[in-house]
């Protein structure tokens, strides 16, 4: 039982260092004091006379991070603006967002840390279906608002979890709107599906199936996001073999690119109808180029690859960044330049940063509606009572009510077109879009897709009324 005789001093030093690391982690963990949030006379966690502490868990590392890691910093830009102008009812907003790497086990730990140790007032703008489903029970048991979850799952509007709510259009709503467009404009053509094999894809397909007659659907192909590593050539080959003339896709941006490239390589150019999750041109364009270069293409081929987006049908629920004359786009751009200049320099105004700004501004209005006497239950009630009247960049108003905890339930169908004004970001110039239908609304159930007849809101002259 003798130890092997390596340099024992070196080993001692390193083991000592390991032990010190261990000791330091233990000490740091045991002595980590909760964030300094004293409580008001009303004893609401996370709320003082001068501040509100909110938290979120988002993927900042890992495969889900690209693109989605821009949303929380964009939200912070809005809070920066609000805080610079005195806060809401005199309270500044402190936003803590932690990285869960899209792993629900991490989300469970970090959310408990935020609630039990850091005493956040509410969980705002956390991302992901499996991740947020993991903490939905805990947050509702603890009566902590879990609001504006960044996911289109149908599960956020559930009476058993009254403290939870969604914000973006549910995937089924989107599927119905795009499915209704396919039914109307490509009647008689053969349709194929390519979808992510999880809640996102399944809910989207549910919506498509509610509109598109099943006889038209000739092929259903899926892929697994966790193991997405290379071109989806098998799925594309199957779609081509089935003769699909229209391909409806529920894909994340990387998968969109990894589907369109092999299709082009085999000379297959169907009409693509893609969920807005995977069709933001400043996000997908660079991926098309970089995947082409990695696959051995020349610089000219990489540039030409972005042209594959021309003619793609997708949908939008707020004015896209290419629409530079839209007053909301101008306000968002200015906000980002002023309050998140490094983020603007890196990504510019794209789908993700627009999403973050719009979501944060919705939350700010919810705080205003809840009033100076701020409580958790009061915040949830204020959204149910006043959410429909919030001013947002969306084409339709938010749907919040005492029974509905979804935000937007409508969008317009748009066509990506090289003749439309492009979206210009620091990374380049990306294909723009034109609307091909009016704004439409529906729900996740059996309501038909109908035209929206109301108006859109215009941004106020100042984002927040300082009172």
């Amino acid at each position: 039982m003798r130890q092997s005789s390596h340099t024992s001093i070196g080993r001692a030093l390193v083991t000592g260092a390991l032990g010190v690391t261990l000791g330091a982690t233990l000490l740091a963990a045991c002595s980590s004091s909760p964030k300094a949030t004293t409580t008001t006379t009303a004893n609401v966690p996370g709320v003082t006379a001068t501040s509100i502490s909110i938290g979120a868990t988002v993927p900042l590392t890992g495969p889900a991070a690209p693109g989605y890691d821009e949303i929380a910093p964009a939200m912070d830009a809005v809070f920066g603006w609000v805080n610079a102008h005195g806060g809401v009812d005199g309270r500044k907003i402190n936003y803590t967002y932690l990285d869960d790497g899209y792993n629900p086990a991490n989300t469970a730990t970090l959310t408990r840390k935020l609630v039990l140790q850091d005493n956040i007032f509410a969980d705002i703008g956390s991302l992901g279906t499996p991740t947020q489903a993991a903490v939905q029970g805990f947050l509702n048991t603890q009566k902590v608002p879990q609001l504006f979850i960044e996911s289109g799952c149908n599960c956020w509007s559930d009476p058993t979890y009254p403290y939870s709510s969604g914000w973006q259009p549910p995937y089924t709503v989107e599927g119905k709107i795009l499915g209704s467009y396919i039914k109307a404009n490509f009647a008689g053509k053969k349709v194929g599906y390519l979808y992510q094999g999880d809640e996102f894809g399944n809910d989207f397909v549910k919506g498509l199936d509610m509109e598109i007659p099943s006889a038209s659907v000739v092929s259903r192909q899926s892929y697994d996001a966790a193991t997405l590593a290379g071109p989806l050539s098998n799925q594309i080959a199957a779609l081509k073999a089935a003769g699909a003339q229209v391909v409806a896709m529920a894909t994340i941006p990387a998968a969109t690119a990894l589907a369109m490239l092999p299709a082009a390589a085999i000379g297959y150019f169907p009409q693509y109808v893609i969920s807005n999750v995977g069709a933001d041109t400043p996000t997908v364009g660079p991926l098309l180029s970089s995947f082409t270069s990695k696959g051995g293409g020349s610089a000219a081929q990489a540039k030409a690859a972005t042209g594959l987006l021309n003619g793609v049908i997708t949908d939008a629920y707020f004015a896209p960044e290419a629409d530079v004359s839209n007053p909301w786009v101008q306000v968002e751009k200015k906000l980002l330049q002023d309050y998140a200049p490094s983020l603007y320099a890196k990504s510019g105004l794209d789908g993700n940063t627009q999403y973050g700004i719009a979501l944060a501004y919705t939350f700010v209005q919810a705080l205003q509606a809840a009033g100076k006497n701020l409580t958790r239950a009061g915040l949830v009630a204020a959204i149910a009572a006043h959410g429909k009247n919030f001013v947002t960049p969306g084409f339709v108003p938010l749907s919040y009510s005492s029974t509905v905890h979804f935000g937007f339930q409508g969008s317009e169908v748009i066509k990506l077109s090289s003749t439309a004004p492009p979206a210009v970001t620091p990374t380049g110039s990306w294909i723009g879009s034109t609307p091909v239908t009016p704004v439409e609304v529906t729900d996740i159930g059996s309501a038909p897709v109908t035209k929206y007849t109301g108006s859109t809101s215009t941004p106020p002259t100042s984002l927040v009324s300082t009172s």
């Binding site: 261990l22 963990a29 980590s32 590392t61 629900p104 086990a105 730990t109 029970g137």
Partner: protein, 375 residues
């Protein structure tokens, strides 16, 4: 020549102190150590906040998984990069039973152990033919391929939303985090005592014999394949229990909780703690749970952005692992044993006798060096 007067030396030389020994009979010895550990942990959890109790519970559940892995890799010499899959099986077994039946909680845990053990049997049998990188590759495949099966049959397995788990109600006014931590700690102590006894028994010697030299073991009459399969089954069963506990901690079981990185982190934590040891797995589990948080607060002190601080955790973990592999392959527990050995030598020079360490639970003989040679 009288040794120099050192404080405490008198105690060390007192005869009654020298007679204080842990019993050498393994079961008694391990039970006493476990009871002491339980007492310490009870005091610790009672005085900590609910969130810290939650973390202690997480440490305990990782100890279970790591102990099984340590047995398989350190003591039996079979590398496994797929323990995340066994944890997933255990977690889903418990979650499915909780969703569809009203079975007794302990029976559900036993079912998780059983389900994972059956998978361990299925994987362990072909694994007897493989060694080193080939075995690692096969288990890697398992870790990648198994969780997406749950996504494929999402109606049964809950898909992205997953299946919810419910912790049995806490007695009286104990808060739920402390109660769950206690369930997990009890599980960890029971598993560690059982494994410690196993390693001190004929099974333990058989495992080590097969690790060190399969041909010699076979000539000595040991059924090599059967031994390897038994080690796989036990290791998988431990991972299954840990997975069930992970599902209880998280509150929900879905495939996102069992990515490839989990299997790799388990292996890394085992190495850092001390391959082949059981006590070392406590250090490994602490690192696994606390190192990311410590890195985050460190980057907060240096005012890095949230993005950079997230990557810092991964970088630090990787650097610690690389340094440990190069310079201290026996991990923290190996280093502590070495340090205790030096103290014993120093003490004996002064005429004090210190308890011998070589009979501690799960004493490692050759650790990862031997694993490398047999690969």
């Amino acid at each position: 020549m009288t040794p120099p007067a050192v404080p405490g030396l008198a105690l060390g030389r007192a005869r009654w102190f020298r007679r204080l020994r842990l019993p050498t009979q393994p079961l008694a010895r391990h039970m006493i150590l476990a009871l002491c550990g339980a007492a310490v942990l009870y005091v610790v959890t009672s005085s900590l906040s609910p969130y810290n109790d939650f973390e202690v519970g997480e440490i305990a559940l990782y100890v279970i998984a790591l102990s099984g892995l340590s047995l398989l890799t350190g003591v039996n010499g079979q590398i496994s990069l797929g323990h995340g899959a066994f944890m997933a099986v255990g977690a889903y077994a418990t979650a499915l039973l909780m969703t569809h039946t009203h079975l007794n909680f302990l029976l559900e845990l036993l079912a998780s152990i059983g389900a994972a053990a059956i998978l361990g049997l299925v994987i362990g049998i072909p694994a007897t033919r493989l060694k080193g990188p080939y075995l690692a590759g096969m288990t890697l495949l398992l870790a990648l391929a198994l969780p997406p099966i749950a996504d494929k049959w999402s109606t049964t397995f809950g898909g992205d939303q997953g299946l919810t788990t419910t912790v049995p109600a806490a007695p009286g006014t104990t808060n739920p985090e402390e109660w769950l931590a206690w369930i997990q700690i009890m599980g960890a102590l029971i598993v560690v005592v059982l494994l410690a006894n196993l390693l001190r028994s004929r099974f333990g010697r058989t495992f080590r014999a097969v690790r060190d030299d399969e041909i010699a073991a076979s000539l000595a009459g040991i059924h090599v394949a059967r031994t390897k399969v038994i080690a796989f089954v036990i290791s998988a069963g431990c991972a299954g229990l840990a997975g069930a506990f992970l599902g209880l901690s998280t509150g929900v079981v879905n495939t996102g909780e069992f990515p490839l990185t989990l299997s790799i982190q388990l292996l890394a934590a085992m190495v850092l703690g001390g391959t082949g040891t059981l006590m070392g797995m406590w250090w490994g589990a602490v690192l696994l749970v606390y190192l990311p948080q410590w890195s985050t607060s460190l980057s907060g002190d240096f005012n890095l952005g949230s993005g950079a601080s997230a990557y810092l955790a991964t970088i630090i973990f990787g650097v610690v692992l690389i340094v440990a592999m190069i310079a201290a392959p026996t991990g923290i527990q190996g280093g502590l044993r070495w340090a205790w050995g030096r103290i014993s030598v120093f003490g004996s020079r002064l005429g004090v006798s210190t308890p011998s360490v070589s009979e501690g639970p799960g004493a490692t003989l050759h650790g990862p060096d031997q694993v490398r040679n047999s690969g």
